[in-house]
């Protein structure tokens, strides 16, 4: 325990905690709607697409952040044209993602520099975040959350009961598009902090578990945010304590074990019936 307190004194660990706790809040809220709208696959596709964009940016000699945002927001626009039927949408998401990964492979093949910089985007450099990056992440996340709050009621309405929302005049297409763009922004922010592979866990893990505990949207979102924070803090501390094992593994493992335990305690409503 004293070892952990000692570790907390390090600036790099404080930065890692601050930045990832911030993106975990956005990811948990986005994840709630993502699952509700049947877009879990998109949550998996966005970070991969962002990876491809970042690889392109590195090749072009600009900061990865430009590639991340342009590719994920572009994909959000494509996804919003894919229609509502689950099967078609999932296939379209998958094909778009594979195409972007093909582009990523293309960029990597042309890039003759130090490819580790690109792989850093895949696996994350969570323990190498500067104070400046923490500040940028904080501001950008606050803006994203504000936009989500602004959209909250129509988004919730059209997620829970799409037909009556449409009948009551909620501009469903606009809301869906705006939500996908906000997802793209959140993913782009999170990828820079945690790496592509962990973003999906932060999006889906907390919200999935919270949804099997509560029913009321606000309660689910609050629990999801809380769980996200716990996973991230525990994951970073566990990784720091072991010294070399990756943060992604611990966060994914905590998230998975909690999910299984909660489902099991709830009588296995979905895993067995």
């Amino acid at each position: 325990m004293t070892g952990l307190w000692h570790l907390l004194g390090y600036q790099f660990l404080q930065n890692a905690l601050a930045a990832s706790c911030t993106v975990a809040v956005c990811a948990a809220v986005i994840g709630y709607f993502l699952i509700g709208r049947g877009l879990t696959f998109a949550g998996h596709a966005f970070p991969n697409i962002g990876f491809a964009g970042a690889a392109g940016a590195v090749l072009a000699g600009v900061a990865p952040v430009f590639g991340l945002f342009s590719f994920t927001i572009g994909a959000a626009l494509v996804f919003s044209f894919l229609g509502k039927e689950g099967r078609d949408r999932d296939l379209g998401i998958g094909v778009t993602m594979t195409f972007c990964l093909g582009l990523g492979l293309f960029f990597l093949a042309l890039y003759s520099g130090y490819a580790d910089r690109v792989y850093g985007i895949l696996f994350g450099t969570i323990l190498g975040i500067s104070a400046g990056e923490v500040a940028v992440t904080l501001v950008a996340s606050a803006v994203t959350l504000a936009a989500l709050a602004f959209l909250f009621r129509p988004l919730l309405f059209s997620t829970a009961v799409p037909e009556s929302a449409l009948a009551r005049g909620v501009p469903a297409k606009l809301v869906a598009g705006a939500f996908l763009v906000l997802t793209a922004i959140t993913v782009s922010l999170a990828v820079q902090i945690t790496g592509s592979l962990l973003v999906f866990t932060l999006l889906v893990g907390p919200a999935a578990t919270a949804r099997s505990v509560f029913r009321r949207p606000l309660a689910v979102i609050a629990l999801a945010v809380g769980l996200g924070e716990v996973y991230v803090v525990a994951g970073i501390l566990a990784a720091a304590a072991t010294g070399t094992l990756p943060v992604s593994f611990f966060v994914a493992a905590f998230s998975f074990v909690t999910f299984i335990l909660v489902r099991w305690l709830r009588g296995g409503t979905s895993w067995k019936r």
């Binding site: 998996h44 379209g92 592979l197 866990t201 966060v251 998230s255 895993w271």
Partner: protein, 290 residues
């Protein structure tokens, strides 16, 4: 050019690529009918975790992919009824598998004193680096999977298109669900060997997805999917071997052609759908009663 055609790399790539394309197109068609796109994409990433795990233990990546694929199928299979609409559970298994993959990769990077990026080769495999002995294994697997698909064709098709009616008629839908997931896991393992983790989904999804949009009759759609898959693969190989851009990997062409074909089919279907909404419904009814 003759030197290239005579080379073993070319022969292996052509044979291995064609086998993968045919297998992925056939299994992919049922994947599309069963709306299992996310589950199969998840299986490719789960295969990645399995492959890194077995490389860590000094085994062939193929064992790990098969093993983890089987475990994932068991986990998916214990899900409620069908996988349709179960993407949260698929996602949870996927996210855990990704975490394990990262763990294995980091352990691998240290244990072999090489950097983790050497294990990243698994992410983007290449048809151009298929080892000769693997072709025989690919052939055996493809023949086996296609044989099972052929033997189960009618009940599998029936339960894919209309599960409720199939169950009412006494088709063992649960067993078929499980068998199909197994075939899917084996096929993804083959796809990963040929295309790498990140692009294996291209040959599985795009040819079948496009054929499903273009052709209504199941057998016709299946054949169209095979044709499209072969066209994509051969086109990619032709450009990779004889094209002017030698640095571009074959996967780039295959992923781009896949996306292009699917996009064309999607646009065509939208256009047609707008013209004959009524007839569309009729077609669907006919399919079910066939």
């Amino acid at each position: 050019m003759e030197a290239i055609v005579a080379s073993e790399t070319f022969r292996n790539a052509l044979v291995g690529g064609s086998l993968t394309a045919v297998l992925c197109a056939c299994v992919g068609y049922f994947m599309v009918l069963r709306a299992l796109a996310f589950a199969s994409e998840a299986l490719t990433d789960i295969g990645f975790a399995g492959a890194t795990g077995s490389v860590l233990l000094g085994w062939s990546p193929f064992f790990g992919m098969m093993g983890f694929g089987l475990l994932a199928v068991l986990a998916f299979g214990s899900l409620n009824n069908r996988l349709r609409g179960r993407d949260v559970e698929v996602g949870m298994v996927l996210s855990f598998a990704l975490g394990l993959g990262v763990l294995f990769l980091s352990l691998y990077g240290r244990s072999s004193a090489t950097h983790a990026s050497s294990g990243v080769g698994l992410l983007f495999g290449s048809l151009l680096s298929l080892p000769g002995p693997l072709i025989g294994i690919l052939l055996a697997i493809a023949v086996g999977v296609l044989f099972v698909l052929g033997a189960l064709f009618r009940p599998l098709l029936f339960s894919s298109i209309d599960p409720e009616a199939a169950r009412a008629r006494g088709v063992p839908t649960k067993a078929l669900d499980f068998v199909f997931l197994l075939l899917l896991a084996v096929t993804t393992a083959v796809g990963i060997q040929a295309m790498g983790v990140l692009l294996a989904f291209a040959l599985l999804s795009a040819p079948a997805g496009a054929a499903h949009k273009l052709v209504r009759h199941p057998l016709g759609a299946l054949l169209t999917a095979v044709g499209l898959g072969l066209a994509i693969t051969w086109g990619g190989l032709a450009l990779a071997f004889f094209g002017p851009w030698t640095r571009v990997p074959v996967g780039v062409y295959i992923a781009s052609f896949s996306a292009l074909i699917y996009a064309v089919a999607l646009v065509r279907d939208r256009f047609r759908g707008r013209l004959e909404v009524e007839e569309h419904g009729h077609h669907h009814e006919r399919e079910v009663h066939d």
